[in-house]
């Protein structure tokens, strides 16, 4: 339980950090969209951090840019397009579904399907295997025979 709490607080510490930066918006509805965007956009310099978690200079610049674009009245989609035109699809933690990424999107389904089939198959085999393991009536005798053979040899 303690470990769970510790892990949870570690996982959430990024959000705490993100909100510690004071960002002012002319329209309060921008704040939620800003938070969503900076958690879904990836820092181009860091290996695996979003803009919210990273305090690298480039992330700070990009957070400011997201804020500016929001104030300019751009939609979330437009902001993502604006940034991918410059930094490529690398910065999207939620990549678009297109011919380059459809395998990425459907592979979990395929793996689930294959895994399900394997499990279904093996569990049915398991049932028939236990049935065939019932001990034949003369097995004691045979076992003794075999053991005595070995002792002789």
């Amino acid at each position: 339980m303690k470990i769970c709490l510790l892990l949870l607080s570690a996982a959430l510490s990024g959000f705490v950090f993100a909100t510690s930066e004071l960002v002012e918006f002319s329209d309060p509805s921008y704040r939620a969209r800003y938070q969503q965007l900076i958690t879904e956009l990836r820092c181009p310099k860091c290996q695996n951090q979003n803009l919210a978690d990273s305090n690298s200079p480039i992330s700070r610049d990009l957070r400011n840019e997201v804020q500016r674009l929001l104030e300019d009245g751009l939609s979330n989609q437009e902001i993502e397009t604006y940034l991918t035109n410059r930094y490529s699809a690398f910065i999207l933690y939620r990549p678009e579904v297109n011919k380059n990424t459809y395998l990425l999107w459907v592979s979990p389904l395929i793996i689930l399907l294959v895994g399900g089939l394997v499990v279904a198959r093996f569990s049915r085999q398991g049932v028939s295997a236990t049935k065939s393991q019932e001990i034949a009536p003369d097995s004691d005798e045979r076992l003794n025979d075999l053991l005595s053979d070995e002792e002789d040899g």
Partner: protein
Amino acid sequence: MIRLALFVPLALFIGLSALLLLGLDKDPTELPSALVGEKFPSFTLIALDEEQGMLSEKDLIGEVALVNVWATWCYACRIEHPMLNQLNEQGVKVIGLNYKDERGSAKKWLDLRGDPYAFSIFDVRGSLGLDLGVYGAPETYLIDATGVIRHRRVGVVDERIWTNEFQDLYAQLKEESQ
């Protein structure tokens, strides 16, 4: 038939291992370029040397050139600088993009280490850097005579990188432009 089916997991495992092994060779810090094949973004910025006045993307057109993103706070730029001097001596046109820097120290840097740049764009707020998708200095762009970006290198350009990535393309573009 059933016997063969037993090997399916092994085959899958080998396939997956091969795929992941190939992935190990890739440099994860390298981003796919969004701007290769695109026009150099438009901008209006003052030159690092104020006497050269305002610069725009039109000043980049007409000759095959390298655009090098640099700054005095960038340690790797220090390592790269002699290579740029050398390229300039070989007759390669190098244009500087002084990125989020301070004018005084940038000028001092060029006095101290030599100035390989035909001119340097002074991008103090990093606006052009953002349009280029700059995420770490130094970065070097090869642009053709019409101002289209043809190659991008993030990180230091040294002798090896120049030979492997730039030289042939540069010669080819140079030939096309004549």
